[in-house]
């Protein structure tokens, strides 16, 4: 196989798996401080629930103020955490543009007419065969009859057209997988209601 095609495939894999770097972004900015504050709030909240506002007014009010402070701290830490994650993601997006998107697009233009494989002549109508061989430009120039067919028993499929077809097929596969994994909204709502009822019953006990 031609090295250019291998390079294109490598770019394709990098492009499709780039979303995994988002996980890296969240790993790099650990939410430990946020978890600690949430744990603290949970303990205080449990303590507050066991207190009677009338019998232990002073303690209840003190806890209340601490809860307020904790809420503010959590909001601030959460904002910082989300900002840092967003910043990392933005840097990764720029990196993707430089490392994958731009070279990949340039390669598609530069090697767009490179023949990837050949199909028997006569399998498709002339118009489609011309497009397979010469790319999208053939379609635009078809009325002028400027592009000529190659002689022989086969028609080459150019890299640009092959990539277009491959990306379309990959997109369709992604759509099918997503749809088959999707849960019926009606069932999802019923499940959520059951979960909410269970949680309510647990908290009441």
């Amino acid at each position: 196989m031609d090295y250019w095609i291998l390079l294109v495939l490598a770019f394709l894999v990098a492009d499709k798996s780039w979303h995994l770097t988002g996980l890296l972004a969240t790993k790099l900015t650990s939410p430990e401080r946020l978890q600690q504050l949430i744990r603290e709030r949970q303990e205080l909240h449990q303590q507050q629930q066991s207190l009677s506002a009338q019998d232990h007014y002073a303690k209840w009010t003190k806890n209340n103020r601490r809860l307020d402070v904790l809420d503010r701290d959590i909001a601030r830490v959460r904002k910082n955490y989300l900002e840092s994650v967003e910043a990392t993601k933005a840097r990764l997006a720029k990196l993707k543009l430089l490392v994958v998107t731009v070279p990949f697009t340039a390669l598609k233009f530069y090697k767009g007419k490179l023949p990837v494989y050949a199909l028997p002549k006569g399998m498709f109508p002339r118009f489609i065969e011309g497009t397979l061989e010469h790319g999208w430009l053939y379609m635009a120039l078809a009325p002028l009859n400027m592009k000529q067919f190659s002689e022989g028993a086969s028609v080459a499929v150019s890299l640009g057209i092959w990539l277009f077809a491959l990306l379309r097929v990959l997109g369709a596969i992604e759509f099918v997988l997503e749809t088959l994994r999707e849960q019926n909204p009606q069932v999802a709502t019923e499940t959520a209601k059951v979960h909410a009822r269970t949680a309510q019953a647990a908290s009441a006990n």
Partner: protein, 289 residues
């Protein structure tokens, strides 16, 4: 200075208090006290300990950090007190802001009748746009959500079915020598001939897409939902153009028809792409020693 009677003073104080309550003062404090009373009915903004421990447990367990980020967001969203925005549509998309401005201008120029909604002419569109913006996705409320789910399922299963038929077909079309069983029938021999590939493929596509389209129409009739009206922004935008502004009647209907055609063409193109890719792979496969 004039002397104010005791009754007059009480009346003024009562009015001041009423004004204060009507502006919502003190409600946050009251809400906080009532929701944090032990054993009292908890409001939406209060996070129960079960919820927190559940969320925290999953944070600690979290297999991937993307998930944990989402969980933290959910947790904090639940923890935050509900903020009632003064104008919920203020932060929506530019088109919503634009219509809102138009609405204000409309309200300024002519006072609408009492029974008409504040949005007047634009209110249904505004509501739909606001709903779309709030979810960041097409409208998926109740029956519409279920219908869209069914449409997606239908599309996915039809695609799988078509591909299940097309792949063996391409395998035999790309076979260098004709398989022996093809000689038993002239029809099969004709179908598997590479020269007849495009004709057979297009006939199959027309038949299968027609079946899909009929099932889709039946589904739309049963659920009484037009799939494209709810899933396409283009249709929503076409609906924003007032009648008579463009020399095209029923612009929204025409956009819906065009999108239906595009949907069909897109399915055809996807299958053609599959044939191209599969034909290439089969060529390498059959050529391999």
């Amino acid at each position: 200075m004039s002397e104010v009677s005791e009754a007059e003073k009480r009346r003024i104080l009562r009015e001041k208090r009423k004004q204060k309550f009507s502006k919502g003062a003190g409600s946050a404090r009251l809400h906080k006290i009532t929701t944090q009373q032990p054993g009292g009915a908890s409001g939406d903004s209060t996070v129960t300990s079960a919820e927190i421990s559940d969320n925290e447990g999953s944070l600690q367990r979290g297999s991937n950090s993307g998930q944990s980020t989402r969980e933290i967001d959910d947790l904090l969203a639940a923890m935050d007190p509900p903020i009632e925005p003064a104008e919920p549509l203020e932060s929506a998309a530019p088109e919503v802001a634009f219509i809102q401005q138009l609405m204000k201008m409309q309200q300024g120029s002519a006072t609408p009748p009492a029974d008409e909604k504040a949005g007047g002419l634009f209110s249904p569109l505004l509501e739909r746009l606001a709903e779309q913006e709030a979810g960041g996705a097409p409208v998926v409320s109740g029956e519409v959500g279920v219908h869209q789910f069914q449409v997606r399922q239908l599309k996915a299963y039809m695609l799988l079915l078509r591909w299940a038929i097309l792949l063996p077909f391409i395998y035999y079309v790309m076979h260098p020598g004709t398989a022996h069983w093809l000689h038993t029938s002239r029809f099969l021999h004709f179908v598997m001939e590479p020269r007849n590939f495009f004709m057979v493929f297009t006939t199959f596509e027309v038949a299968s897409i027609s079946i899909y389209y009929q099932v889709l129409l039946t589904l739309e009739r049963t659920n009484k939902v037009n799939s494209l009206s709810y899933s396409s922004k283009l249709v929503t935008w076409a609906g924003l153009v007032p009648d008579g502004m463009l020399p095209i009647d029923n612009l929204q209907g025409k956009v819906v028809v065009a999108l239906h055609y595009w949907d069909i063409l897109s399915m055809y193109l996807t299958d053609l792409s599959l044939c191209l890719v599969a034909a290439g792979l089969m060529k390498y496969y059959h050529a391999a020693p």
